[in-house]
Symmetry: D5
Subunit: 147 residues, 10 copies
């Protein structure tokens, strides 16, 4: 029985062999690059048609395509991420978390931004002082309502 990890490994091999980037793959199966990568590394499930499209693009087996559509178990390997690129986002949550909370409460009331009904983009913005990474997150506001 193939696991999500097995299928990720197959995708990485096929992607390397084909010389494709994540944005190329995302464009060819018409899904956002963030969700495409996330589902390819087993942190999200593919819709059936997108799984089929990816399977065709990278010549995956039927079983692999089916595995891609299964609900994943999202275990984070490290409580505090050590990779510097990922740690910086953890640091942003640590430093600016209370600020995000205060501004969400001011604009909406007592509640949260959903991390499920959620989407995100990553872009490169040219800048003469050094190019910048631009990240946009959008999540549905959910209110704590008394009952």
């Amino acid at each position: 029985m193939l696991t999500k990890d097995d299928v990720t490994m197959k995708i990485l091999e096929a992607k390397k062999a084909a010389g494709l980037g994540w944005e190329d793959i995302a464009e060819k199966i018409d899904m956002s690059p963030v969700f495409t990568h996330s589902a390819c590394v087993g942190m999200n499930a593919f819709p059936a048609d997108k799984a089929a499209a990816l399977g065709e693009l990278l010549s995956l087996s039927d079983e692999a395509v089916e595995v891609l559509t299964e609900s994943p178990t999202k275990n984070f390997a490290q409580t505090v991420p050590t990779d510097p690129c990922i740690y910086r986002f953890y640091e942003i949550v640590g430093v600016y978390g209370p600020t995000l909370k205060a501004l969400i409460h001011e604009k909406f009331g007592d509640g949260i931004m959903s991390a499920i009904d959620f989407d995100m983009t990553v872009e490169r913005v040219e800048n003469p002082k050094g190019d910048r990474v631009k990240i946009e997150m959008s999540g549905k506001y959910l209110a704590y309502n008394a009952w």
Copy 2:
């Protein structure tokens, strides 16, 4: 000697008494709401002129104004934040962290998005299915260069 915590407490009291929101304060001292809140709760340092403006707006003492300009020590109280509003951002880093890393590497090369040379906005976006929180982050790309 006043600590950063003492000054935060004074600001919260004055803000409550004046009936001002964080966005109101930010506008009056002409600084972004995110940085304004962050510096008011002691996670960032105010530039001298902004500290003075805030001091005037909220009638803070000279010592308090000076404390606002000092470099803070940024200790996060919890390794894994438990507040649901802040936890969702931690979860996003856990679920999408490897994806952010992969896309940054694809677009820029081996490096990171700076969390220091960094800015962020929080907005409310109306939506018939439920309004959404929109967050934009922008940080300078820093490359790992061989030496």
Copy 3:
């Protein structure tokens, strides 16, 4: 400036003096016992009218009533709860967590039960072999949708 903890302490004193139970208070302010207790111990915010009703019932100050309506920061004191009554619920999540996940996925698809758009009741059910605690939770299903 009163904190949430200060107000909780005042409520516990007034409740004890008045000889009221949580269900009595909940009934008098017409809100569920679970949400009433949760908001009284500072883990949720009162709607303004309920805060006013509670203030009148227990003779709280205007400042205390206002504090009750503020958005709380929900910090859990212990990563693994040690109190045996609370630990049993942690154990249920540990033992049956994967089962809850599997059944939610089977009935709904890839997603979660919201802990924000959520309500809960606690009841005593008579039983000749020993009375039972009955807990009912209801939370909105939120789907992970590809984008």
Copy 4:
């Protein structure tokens, strides 16, 4: 010697091949879906007759059927579950744990809800604003008695 994990793997394969859901299997062996799944993933022991019924349904070996009836060791893989679907239940225990304790004490006295003499159901409830997950737990009340 087959381990519980080996048998779980065999069940998952046979279930996938047969195109059965957990509720289908539970119905066919006449046991609740929660306990059925829980025992299939090795967190509970099957009664002998139910193990036999499952073995027949999924064509498991005699050894596998016997393993299903053995007492399991219930190790939770993660102190704080990271999977968002399971984390939400952990969050509920964190946010509402003191409330559950207070209401149990008010209704019963000093004691706990058993997590052993315990059962649970998961249902889908239709709702025009979005369907809801309904969970019902029932556990025997156990009192701390002085001796």
Copy 5:
């Protein structure tokens, strides 16, 4: 408002002044020494009559007597106890835990020994090679029953 800790402090002072041991106190209020000490240090609740008897014996205030009857929150200060006398019991659970589990399963089936419907005694047993501590625990067996 008196806390459980305040009352414990008062009991320790009164006990020291009266020159009484825990066994003396237990005998005078006719409750076991283990439960008596446990309730005096705030890890268990006194039945009303025993609280009254202790109050009379040690001249505690009415409020203190009432506090003794309240349900305690049992927080363990240390995940791994460091005091050598307590650590040895932790070590016994570590070394012999799987053995206790195996023998309980062999004698009863899949289940546990309750730590709630539970009692314990501590005795000194004379022995020419060095006196021994004898501890007897008795807890109700609770079975995991399928449903």
Copy 6:
């Protein structure tokens, strides 16, 4: 080279094949059930004659018999045990640890109960309200003596 784990596995297989319980084995080699199980799962060392007796009973190889007599390294897999049957003992140490310490100090002076010069029994006690698990521990008292 056989490890303790390898030998445990062989014992479990042979025990299953022979249809023997731990108490049966203990009786046949004339050693207590607690120590027998503990040594079989590699948490204690067998005396040479008992290892030989077990080897004969279960047809173990000479190398396996020798491994049984080696001093084990006692690593606990989990800081806080999650299995409910074992956790209850951890909870008892948490809730009643300070009580055990206080009573040992009262009866003996400043010291501990040894967990090395130690023995333990587990029994089933019939009870009309539900049978009970009875555990008896006996450990040598060791005093802290000034030097």
Copy 7:
């Protein structure tokens, strides 16, 4: 009611005022320097006569003298000590722990060195290449005996 910490503070003040070292104090009350310091900082209990002698030497109150004879609760403040002088001992246990265990087993059989029936000295040894710290520990061997 004086705590052990209060008494330690008084001893440190009196010692400083008197200009005495730990070895001076130890000599005057005729107890080893290690046990003297350990009992003064509340990690061990004084025998009654030694407490009286120390009380006289440093002019402590009767209550303080009595507190010195009580059994202490030995909580270590840090799981991994960070002070470099103490950390080096932790490192020695980490690096040479398996070696100490192997040599004790080779010389004695399966058992441990007691940390209760235990004494220790610290000496300065002159050495032309730099003076050395010499530490001698002596603890009773305790055997794991089958029962």
Copy 8:
């Protein structure tokens, strides 16, 4: 490529086959038993001539002999050691650590005992009340000097 672990395994096998103890081996290669064992289990590096002598004694391959001379990475498997024989040393550091620090400071000034320029012996001392383990540590004193 042989790892340190591979070589340790070979040494343990050869030692068992030859019926040698650690002290026998140490004597034959003329190195202390503590360092010999420590280097055999991969926590220290052998000097080249000692590695050669051990290789000859136990008939190790040339590659194994070379591996013995490499600098090891000293990872401790457990933050708090659970094996009772090793834990007792951890407990000694916890209970007597501040005492060791105070006496070193009194005898030498502000500094530490080196754990690198360090040696240790383990001996059995006969004693009619039960034999004792005697451990002698000697480490160079290193001072914190202002600069």
Copy 9:
């Protein structure tokens, strides 16, 4: 598919066979020894020309050379490093971290030293009292700027 770990293993074998040191390799491919080692053990990515040079020097396969140029995921195996040589650097950060922060703030303002735009050298400095390790770090200063 070769992983970074596989390639590290090949490099270590080839380096051993060739009898080369890290400084030799660094010199031959004209890159600093620190970055060379770091990239060889998979904590940094090689520039393409340096990877090619290393591949030629050590006869690595084309696939291995390509793997060397990929962005690594930098996971630290231990939160607190236990190896004494690495721990000393952790200790320096613990003891002198607040000092480094204070001096950077005094010389530059509120900001940090980059660990990405960063380089480092390690040298041996002869000294009659014992040779010394000299480490030089240079990192770009990054300021927290208000926005």
Copy 10:
């Protein structure tokens, strides 16, 4: 009795009142800025003459001056530092720790760089692409010698 923390607080107040930087203070008492700051915040002990000089410069009391010369206990508040300026040094140890170890071993043999017989400087280096922080560490090499 003044603690190290009390004295640090007095120094910070006096320094602020006098408008002195750490480098100014260091120069006036003729000690390095790193050691001066470190000793002022209680992580190191002042030599007697330097404590006297600082006392004169900042008008500290005699007791404060004496406290400055006492051996400190160096407890790190956080296992993983969260302040971004200090975290970067932790990250450097994580990423480059194995490299530092490998190069030290190559240049010296099996051993460490002392963190006690150690000194450090921090400098600002002008650079047209952005000024850089330059840190130089020098520590005595200590060898692991067999015994």
